[in-house]
Amino acid sequence: MSQLLLFNIVNGLIIGAFYALMALGLSLILNLSGVINFAHGGFLAIGGYLAYTLFPYLGFWGALIASPFLVALIGILIEFVLIRWLYGRDPLYSLLLTFGLAFMIEDGTRFIWGAQSLPYQIPSWLAAPLSTELFFLTGYRVFMMILVAAVVLGLFLILSYTRLGLRIRAGTLDLETVSVLGVNVRVLRNLNFGLGIFLAGLAGVLAVGMLGLEPTVGDNLIMPSFIAIIVGGLGSLPGTLVGGLLIGVASGITSVFLPSASEAVMYVMMAVVLIARPRGILGEEGRF
């Protein structure tokens, strides 16, 4: 039993890292723009489908690199055409618009690529387990952990040491002052949205290596992302990271004892956090 538990904790960390990647993109957009992006799962799906389409031309690695950037460009375009009109309004507006956008993306991917699940093959040397005993540690999952860690590190470096990152952080705290200081807030929001969508696109390419590629692939991953943000703390990127890892581990442990509750436990955690510490584990008080 203890070995089983340990296996599931380690595995939960791997899954949690993936949730964290999704949630970080969502959190970036929410923190700066106040937009609840319910279409985040749809962008994940677009990432997967673009990777599938590019695979015959660029191979696995080329598709892995190119696809998130293409999704980010789509995100930038959508922000420019649709999202920016909602800034400053009640968050409900953005939720409703992105909710509709999610359906549009689902139907759009179904129209373009069909409703049938599409096979996406990862390189065979990545698909194998690393050892007989730790069979759930496949090369692909370890690669995913390393890539997520690298991307998260890269994100924190961008936010800490680049002009764009500093402006995003400053804008999260006080966007009005940032605007008065001469920063083009419209462009800032646009690029920030693109950065968040880049993370969704990357999550999509990684996801379809493990999951079936079909129009609803992002649907079951969007709610854990929101929960990770709430558990970790609204307005806090480190909190979002911690939240993602925590819900992944909680889900893994629960599945040992009560598999049918492995999804529900995330919602229980969310409820407990909202009751006991509404700002989340690392969130700022009074942020939202």
Partner: protein, 422 residues
């Protein structure tokens, strides 16, 4: 000042006129619709076109559309052309499925109702069609209760029951692999029915259930369940999952190398699932309810060719055949009954045998008297990568055929107590 400004925007007379027209519209529309409706026989298809079962629903629709085209080319039903009305039930929302069924029944006055893929939605629709007294065929919802404990005189089913599926493959699995099984099962009506069936077979053979994990429909991550399953060292890992859940689980199974350590098997498998898997994930022993490659079976090749034209080159799947057989069943029942009254149709269906050009399988499928369940042939075999030089959609190797009435429980053991209207 304000009120006069407001009143200048929309005049009172304009408002009253608009209201009157709006009030008359509901009265006018049915009249217009019914004037059109009188010319055609309407078949209402209430099935998923979005969500996790969209691919399955699309294939049932293609089969249904081909059947409608063929029926109309031959003069229709009772001399009237057939019109197929399609509604999206969604993949999992019972309330929507029932609401759409009511819309088809009450607003569109369909003569026949067809649906649903989702077992829970199929049962809910069956209960609704029973209340409304409408002839209803369930093409692809498998849970036993539809022609079992909650059977109704007006409801018929094309696809197998979950019990038929498990009974047909149990002996093979017990003989080939052993008697210690671990289950990973999707947590809704369909999965539970399948597991009940397998557990009954296992118990009858003196086997052992090492464990069972119920996973919510739409689960993407199966690693915790696979870790648990592997730790029990089963003779066979039985996967009772649906659609994309099955794809996710099989992909993760092969990535963990468990396909080399454990025997993987289950009951129902579908070509739609196999087409979504990479070649190294095509393994395991399963039941198909219909397969497109049946050398020597009459009319199958023509059916495959006709469906390829409609589907952009893809072969028909079992779902395609469900939709096709369901629509043709409506025609056969009406022609036999010489009537469109539901009670006459239901009586004509008792023991109705599908002709070869509709059956498209060996043996003679028929609707069994007592529970309204079609007794088709079940195709037992294993998933395979497409053979080199062969058709890229030849992803299943049939090794055994089982007659439906040999796999089915006797009527008196299904729990069905059919009550006919007086």
């Amino acid at each position: 000042m304000k009120s006069s400004q407001i009143s200048r925007g929309i005049g009172r007379r304009t408002l009253l006129r608009t209201g009157a027209v709006a009030g008359l519209l509901p009265l006018a529309r049915p009249f217009v619709l019914s004037a059109r409706a009188a010319d055609t026989i309407k078949i209402g298809l209430d099935n998923p076109l979005t969500g996790t079962f969209a691919a399955l629903g699309k294939n049932e629709l293609i089969g249904a559309q081909l059947a409608v085209d063929q029926i109309n080319a031959k003069g229709g039903i009772l001399g009237r052309q057939v019109e197929l009305l399609v509604e999206d039930s969604t993949s999992g929302d019972t309330a929507t499925a029932v609401q759409k069924a009511l819309k088809l029944i009450e607003r569109d006055n369909v003569n026949f109702l067809i649906g649903n893929i989702n077992s829970a939605l199929a049962q809910a629709m069956a209960n609704t069609s029973f209340e409304k007294g409408v002839f209803h065929i369930v093409p692809g919802g498998h849970t036993d209760s539809v022609t079992g404990k909650q059977c109704h005189w007006n409801v018929f089913r094309v696809c197998n029951t979950t019990r038929m599926e498990t009974n047909s493959v149990s002996k093979l699995l017990l003989d080939k692999y052993g008697k210690k099984w671990y289950f990973i099962t999707t947590d809704y009506a369909f999965g539970h029915s399948l597991q009940d069936g397998f557990e009954a077979s296992l118990a009858a053979a003196g086997g052992t259930k090492l464990g069972a994990d119920f996973t919510p429909l739409g689960t993407s991550e199966f690693s915790p369940n696979l870790i648990k399953a592997q730790s029990t060292n089963p003779d066979a890992l039985i996967l009772l999952l649906a659609g994309d859940d099955m794809i996710n689980c099989l992909k993760q199974t092969v990535q963990f190398g468990l396909d080399k350590k454990l025997h993987i098997a289950g009951a129902q498998q579908e070509l739609e699932v196999n087409k979504g898997l990479p070649p190294n994930a095509l393994f395991g022993d399963w039941v198909f309810e219909w397969y497109w490659k049946q050398p020597g079976v009459p009319h199958v090749e023509e059916f495959v060719a006709d469906i390829r034209k409609k589907s952009g080159g893809s072969v028909p799947t079992a779902r395609t055949w469900f939709g096709y057989a369901a629509i043709w069943t409506c025609q056969l029942a009406a022609e036999k009954a010489k009537s469109l009254k539901p009670i006459d149709l239901a009586k004509a269906m008792q023991g109705l045998v599908l002709p070869p050009e509709v059956a498209l399988m060996p043996n003679n499928p028929y609707y069994r008297i007592g529970d309204n369940q079609l007794m088709p042939t079940l195709f037992i075999g294993h998933s395979q990568p497409a053979p080199a030089g062969g058709d890229p959609e030849d992803l299943f190797a049939v090794t055994q055929l089982v007659k439906g009435d040999e796999a089915a429980l006797p009527v008196d053991q299904t729990g069905c107590k059919m009550e006919w209207p007086s």
